[in-house]
Amino acid sequence: MNKFLGAAFGLSLAIVPLTSSSAQAQAEEIVIPAITALSGPTAVIGQDTQKGVAVALEHINADGGVAGRPLRIQLYDTQGDPGVVRQVMERLTRLERAPIILGCEISAATSAAAQFAEQARVPLLNSSAVSAELLERGYKWYFSDQITADSEAATVVDFVENLMTQGDVVPALLYEDSPRGAGTIEWVEALLEARGIEIAASAPYSRADRNLLPPVKRVQTSGANVVIWAGYTEDVVAGLQAMQQLDFKPYIVGIGGGPGDVRIPQLVDPGFIEDVNLSTVDYFNPDMDRAQRFVNAYEEKHGIVPSSYASMCYRGAYTLKAALEKTLEARQELTAENLRAALLGIDIPGDQLISPFARIKFDEHGRNVGSQNLIAQWKDGGTKKVTVWPPEVAVQEPNPLK
């Protein structure tokens, strides 16, 4: 008996440190860095990202965290500048030895980050940049759960072809000349050409242009009745004002953050927004059923409807959570190699996402094979964005071509 008690006491002494360290490990916070532009010309993306990530962390941690451990995403400001991105990536991979990095950046900055991640052999999970070219570089450590410019272009051209069933369509291209705008328009141009659709005019402009009357007039004089427009908020606001002054009311199919920015009705006459059927290809719209938990929490926390930018890294945080959980559930360490393998193995069904995606599942190039776009259109007097395309996710019909 004494022997038995002695053995039990000895065993309990051995178990106590194990269980306490296990409990400690379970409660230990997982901290993952994310890069975004909190200042500089694209700070609006970073500031919305910050708000979206805050809601994601509240939801993830309220639902039990990552395999029982709380998750924290630490944001690092890159100013959207590739030079600063390299410095931040060096710090994160070499000094802080981050096992994975979440990217909530524009394409140019993401390109620099992906290059660095490849050298450092640390997974970069991009939830923001739409560059398709990045996925063709053969990188092994770059994953993107975001849509890509080529798929955006395909959705836009499908939508324009749908308009063609209603009457004569004379399309023109209007775009800001950064890699984001010009890059996507190149895909659109190629697709229109491949489908035998003639382009009436192509009018690039600089994002910094203070006067958009000349390029808008160029499009107007071409006789176009449908304008495919890639732009950021500031140039879309200036361009819509120029259209209003020129009394030019084409059917606008937009690309990029500008035409779908939730602040547009505060910046431009909403009546005119509806007059031009302002539509935008997007990866998020607040009216989707599956996004309601996020939308309600975001509105409650920040007092505004979430923008698409805000949704990007909310989704990214969940993709990250899936990879972390898969690694921990396999009782593996959170190392770069294990997390890369986990990313290649995850398969998140669409109904668990706030995007219109069929799923999140990566192919060997890091492309999300389940990504899918939608087209949202400003309705209700130009004050509310409604999902109108594709038919399987549409909430309402798109406005007809007049």
Binding site: P204, N211, E234
Partner: protein, 291 residues
């Protein structure tokens, strides 16, 4: 490329150039009197633009009137900036001046980002979409009013410099500060009031811009670069040169955008700027200081 499109670009570019002139004149005047190229000039303009937005949001006055109302506040800001940052570097090496004013630019940008966030703000008015049509040419009403207000402000500035005692003192200081001092001109006071006045005039320019443009924390940078280019093109310290350069720049910018149907339009503009400097190193009118 139709004549109609070129005329449209030239007219709207010319009107825009008038507003550029008011912005650049303030910089040219401050440089002429103090020899300090202020790289935070556009950021001070940005402060004025936010001020106009706040006034318009709280009182519903037009942005042009809001600009006038902002003048005292901007003069006060100019006073503080002069005393704390500009006065210590008057007469210092150009590199020291540049470093200090670039640093000031970053501080103002960061403060605006913290205060207003990264969102874009503009002022929506009834006038926003109104136009005057001259045949096929459309003239934007807010741009036209902005041009007229800027022209009147520039005219008043020219009159002040050429017909008042303080104007003589300013010109004397710009010409030769040592001789002006020996003749009894209070050079330090003149420099301070020129900077305060130039910053105040940015409020008027901010009002003109907010009639049709927007403001973000980084908008100042582009206006700093623009005004520096205009001041250099016009001839450092030459006010009339700056006026001509601003109008020429506005037209060239709009024509480049209309003619060169590609992303190379801004580059073309910089090549033209470089060529003008090579051919006229003392500015368009040949009366500026050596660069």
């Amino acid at each position: 490329m139709s004549i109609e499109l070129l005329l449209q670009a030239a007219v709207s570019g010319f009107l825009m150039g008038g507003i550029y002139a008011l912005i650049a004149l303030a910089l040219a005047l401050a440089f002429g009197v103090m020899g300090v190229l202020n790289f935070a000039h556009g950021d001070l303009l940005m402060v004025g633009m936010y001020g106009v937005v706040l006034i318009c949001a709280s009182t519903s006055v037009s942005p042009f009137l809001a600009g006038v109302l902002m003048v005292p506040a901007m003069m006060a800001i100019g006073w503080v900036v002069f005393v704390l940052f500009i006065r210590p570097v008057v007469g210092a090496a150009p590199l020291v001046q540049a470093q200090l004013t670039i640093g000031l630019s970053f501080v103002i940008q960061s403060a605006a980002l913290l205060w207003f966030g990264a969102d874009l703000f503009n002022v929506r008015t009834e006038l926003g979409a109104s136009t005057i049509r001259l045949g096929a040419i459309v003239v934007s009403m807010p741009l036209l009013i902005g041009f007229v207000v800027a022209l009147v402000a520039s005219g008043l500035l020219a009159w002040f410099l050429s017909a008042t005692v303080w104007g003589y003192r300013i010109r004397a200081t710009a010409e030769d500060p040592v001789m002006a001092q020996l003749c009894g001109v209070p050079v330090r006071r003149v420099q301070r009031w020129v900077f305060v006045g130039a910053t105040g005039s940015l409020a008027i320019a901010a009002g003109c811009l907010m009639g049709f443009y927007h403001v973000t924390p980084v908008v100042g940078l582009q206006f700093s670069v623009l005004s520096l280019m205009i001041v250099v093109l016009g001839g450092l310290g030459d006010l009339r040169g700056a006026m001509v350069a601003a109008l020429a720049f506005g037209v060239a910018e709009a024509l480049a955008s209309a003619i060169f149907n590609s992303a190379s339009a801004p580059a073309g503009l910089y090549i033209l700027f470089g060529a003008a400097l090579l051919l006229r190193p003392h500015g368009l009118l040949g009366r500026g200081a050596t660069i």
